[in-house]
């Protein structure tokens, strides 16, 4: 028996957080404006009313402090879930995340697990001012000791946030902010799969598109257009950026022989670069064409009036599809 409800990604994360808080009283939430306001995206709306000050509170506006104290709280046996208000404001916390959170367990040779979740709304396309539209996931995937995951739909959002909270390792939980209000079915009874498995969203024969987070919907749209023109595309939602489920990608490439990796993040030294390198290494003889990366340009995220040019759309992906097919 499955118990399905229709939720947006934001509401699904909210429901997942509540569930985790009900199940374990050590789960606590904090960050800027998360309490009464429910966060600037209302992801934590109503949680303060339900759980009160001892379980959810506003932090001072100090990101290094937010992550640094999350580390101390974890040492004390709590399972902190900290919100960073926007992607571009995570950097004051970069030191605490990379030199402390990521390394504590290793430093203590396993004596100090770090069950900390850092929630980060990320990505662009919302017409915002500077620092509100960035995709900093590669910095964190590059850092040993962190797990990095990102849901693209409500069901995953609901389950992956709970899986992140249950993890004894620190988890960077990237939320595609542009898709917060996208709705879909959530199965409240059964988790879909582990948080680090990729999912084949759509099967296809000629080209594989691997993508994640906010670009998943764009890849599906590109696949639909391609299908109407007679090209069969397989779409993979990576879900996890560290570790990456290479098996699912390579199995797909063995079938299609062509791979495009799509992201909002710029492509130089990116998740996409890593996938391209791995696939070249592990599936070289199966490839009919070089692996192509479609992503933002290697420039600072532009002002809102130019973001449509910056962000890959279905046409940019299809241009790459044409290229891999022409080899």
């Amino acid at each position: 028996m499955s118990n399905f409800v229709e939720l947006s990604i934001a509401k699904a994360i909210n429901a997942g957080l509540r569930k985790a808080m009900q199940e374990d009283e050590k789960v606590i939430l904090f960050g800027e404006d998360v309490a009464q306001l429910g966060g600037v995206f209302r992801v934590t709306e109503g949680i303060h009313a339900e759980f009160g000050d001892s379980r959810i509170f506003n932090s001072p506006i100090a990101e290094s402090g937010i992550v640094g104290t999350a580390i101390g709280l974890a040492m004390r046996g709590y399972r902190p879930v900290a919100e960073i208000q926007f992607d571009g404001f995570i950097f004051p916390a970069f030191n605490q995340i990379t030199t402390q959170l990521a390394k504590m367990q290793n430093r203590s040779e396993g004596f100090t697990p770090m069950p900390v979740v850092i929630r980060v709304p990320y990505g662009g396309g919302i017409g915002a001012v500077e620092h509100h539209s960035e995709s900093p996931e590669a910095y964190f995937a590059h850092t040993a000791g962190l797990r990095v995951i990102t849901p693209s739909n409500p069901n995953d959002a609901y389950w992956m946030i709970q899986q992140a909270i249950k993890s004894n390792d620190p988890v960077m939980f990237f939320e595609p902010k542009k898709r917060y209000w996208q709705k879909g079915p959530v199965n409240l009874d059964e988790p879909p799969m582990g948080p680090h498995q990729a999912r084949v969203l759509q099967e296809g024969a000629q080209v594989t598109i691997a993508t994640y987070g906010p670009m998943t919907a764009v890849a599906l749209q590109a696949a639909e257009i391609a299908a109407s023109e007679g090209t069969s595309i397989e779409v993979i939602d990576l879900r996890s950026l560290s570790p990456i489920d290479f098996d699912t990608i390579i199995n797909s490439v063995k079938k299609t022989g062509r791979l495009i990796v799509a992201s909002e993040a710029s492509t130089f030294v990116s998740i996409s670069s890593e996938i391209a390198a791995r696939v070249a290494e592990k599936a070289f003889y199966h490839l009919e064409a070089p692996v192509l990366r479609v992503g933002g340009f290697d420039v600072p995220y532009p002002a809102a009036k130019l973001e449509e040019v910056f962000l890959p759309d279905a046409d940019r992906i299809l241009e790459a599809v044409d290229r891999v097919l022409s080899y």
């Binding site: 001072p60 620092h131 809102a304 009036k305």
Partner: protein
């Protein structure tokens, strides 16, 4: 709290604030009228910008209604050589230093990220990452001192630096670090904190245990609280402490107690976290009305206020038309300023993009 103009518009200088009073003694009626004109201009600009945002002409607006006295007074206290490091809400300070208001609207429309010349204007770019600008101001002030431009008694060439930031931003490590750097270097710097009592949904009471003007003390930066809704106090405190800094007295902090009447930005809904009674209380302490009452008592007639209202109409029309006329920025702008010298990676990407856009009509997909 330094207050020279009571909420009822009564001017008076208590003995303890006599040094501030001297700065007001030097002002002429023309100065008073200029202050009022610009406070009204700032408010009008704000209302028009908010309307433009509602109509989809701006991506976002950051209202500063209620903070006119703090900003116009302080802005005029900053000398013609001094450098200003604002946050993102200092539209009034911009007005007092002749910044083209369209550059602010351009940024909030999403045409660019700022783009005005901070050297020529001495008004540095808006800073969105909280507290970041305060360290820049501190470094700039260190450089001014290294250049020997402090304490020469040369008003034409000596200069000081001022940084504006909010109550919430004081929590960022960057601000505490600024206090320390400025103190140990005896930098010519004024820390101007507009305590508008809210940082999005966080009240100032939840952000600090000790009054903010005392925040710098442990680092060696003394401070004072002023009535931020009193344009004369804001002017006098800024002018005095900028003079002191220019003369080599080292850094100082001013906390201007004011109130954010509007939302944090047009994306915010303050009814979620604060009482309308509190807003009404502060609306009744409107800095413009306070100053208007003072001016009328000084014998300023209705003609002047009519003239200001008319100028407001004109400003509205102008910025409206100018905003509608702002062109779509060219694609190259995204690439053009990233490096000062050619860079192969982005040169290649721009080249690809140009070919992609050119070919899109015919050769492009679908």
């Amino acid at each position: 709290m330094v207050q020279l103009l009571s909420p009822e518009g009564e001017y008076g200088v208590p003995k303890e604030w006599a040094e501030y009073g001297k700065y007001i003694d030097r002002l002429t009626e023309a100065d008073f009228l200029k202050f009022y004109r610009d406070m009204a201009r700032m408010r009008r600009f704000d209302r028009e910008a908010e309307a433009l945002q509602r109509q989809g002409q701006l991506g976002l607006w950051v209202p500063a209604i209620g903070q006119e006295a703090a900003q116009i007074g302080s802005g005029y206290g900053v000398g013609h050589n001094d450098h200003i490091f604002p946050s993102y809400r200092e539209h009034g300070v911009a007005i007092t230093h002749g910044i083209d208001l369209m550059s602010i609207l351009k940024m909030l429309r999403g045409v660019n990220h700022g783009g005005w010349d901070p050297v020529e204007t001495r008004f540095h770019l808006y800073a969105i990452v909280l507290g970041s600008q305060v360290l820049h101001a501190t470094g700039y002030a260190m450089g001014v001192k290294m250049d020997g431009k402090v304490g020469n008694g040369d008003l034409e060439n000596d200069l000081a630096v001022i940084s504006y930031f909010g109550d919430g931003a004081t929590a960022e490590g960057d601000v505490s670090e600024s206090f320390l750097f400025a103190a140990i270097n005896n930098s010519p710097l004024v820390f101007f904190c507009q305590n508008n009592q809210w940082a999005i949904s966080s009240s100032v009471a939840s952000q600090t245990k000790v009054p903010l003007f005392q925040r710098g003390e442990g680092f060696g930066v003394p401070g004072i609280r002023i009535d931020g809704n009193d344009v004369l106090a804001s002017y006098a405190a800024t002018a005095k402490h900028m003079d002191d800094a220019r003369e080599g007295a080292g850094p100082y902090m001013i906390e201007a107690l004011t109130y954010r009447i509007g939302a944090h930005t047009t994306s915010d809904d303050p009814t979620k976290y604060r009482d309308s009674a509190e807003v009404e209380y502060w609306k009744a302490r409107d800095p413009l009305i306070r100053f208007e009452t003072f001016l009328r008592r000084q014998g300023i007639g209705q003609d002047f206020f009519d003239e200001v209202a008319e100028a407001g109409e004109k400003l509205s029309t102008e910025i409206r038309e100018a905003t509608f006329a702002l062109p779509q920025p060219p694609t190259e702008n995204m690439f053009k300023y990233v490096y000062s010298e050619p860079h192969p990676l982005i040169d290649e990407q721009l080249d690809w993009l140009k070919r992609y856009e050119a070919g899109f009509g015919e050769a492009g997909h679908a």
